[in-house]
Amino acid sequence: TQLLEQSPQFLSIQEGENLTVYCNSSSVFSSLQWYRQEPGEGPVLLVTVVTGGEVKKLKRLTFQFGDARKDSSLHITAAQPGDTGLYLCAGDGQAGTALIFGKGTTLSVSS
């Protein structure tokens, strides 16, 4: 069974701090996605990484896919209150079935 474990589960920081969220698995994924979910809404895709070692940047967010394609990280520089939300990683399931989601990291950034 493919599983994605995210850490930490909760993160509460001050505006301006840096943080890293991790997504780990013992399975190899051909791609990983990161979503952000705000309260009362559905998840929204931030990025998809498909190549081992790939690094993608989205403004203050940096996403990395591990060389072995078993893990990924999300680094936020100078966090802002608008970054508050639930961050979910998701990998493609076996045999091309639906995505497998991690349980998420809840981020709270206070001003």
Binding site: G42, P43, G93, T97, L99
Partner: protein
């Protein structure tokens, strides 16, 4: 409006009642999905559909029924609701099941009393 919509947004029902959650998308995406989101469990796949009249079970299908007679609609029915089915339900659609982006609806918060 274009996009993916769910109705109702909130529903309270009693144990044993049948309830149907609706999902409609305007992109003509082939794939549609139903997830439930619970604290401590994250998003879990209930059922998915690769095309009209093609559906398959996900991780937690027991107690749920789906149908897809039209590409744009993917209703989820709880045949006899139980308290353990209290959850937030999300519908999603995609051009492809794996790598491509999944577009999520706003969710339905269901409470079974």
């Amino acid at each position: 409006d274009a996009g993916i919509t769910q109705s109702p947004r909130y529903k309270i029902t009693e144990t044993g009642r049948q309830v149907t959650l609706m999902c409609h998308q305007t992109w003509s995406h082939s794939y549609m999905f139903w997830y439930r989101q619970d604290l401590g469990h994250g998003l879990r796949l209930i059922y998915y559909s690769a095309a009209a009249d093609i559906t398959d079970k996900g991780e937690v299908p027991d107690g749920y029924v789906v149908s897809r007679s039209k590409t744009e609609n993917f209703p989820l029915t709880l045949e006899s609701a139980t308290r353990s089915q209290t959850s937030v339900y999300f519908c999603a659609s995609s051009d492809s099941p794996g790598t491509y982006e999944q577009y999520f609806g706003p969710g339905t918060r269901l409470t079974v009393t």
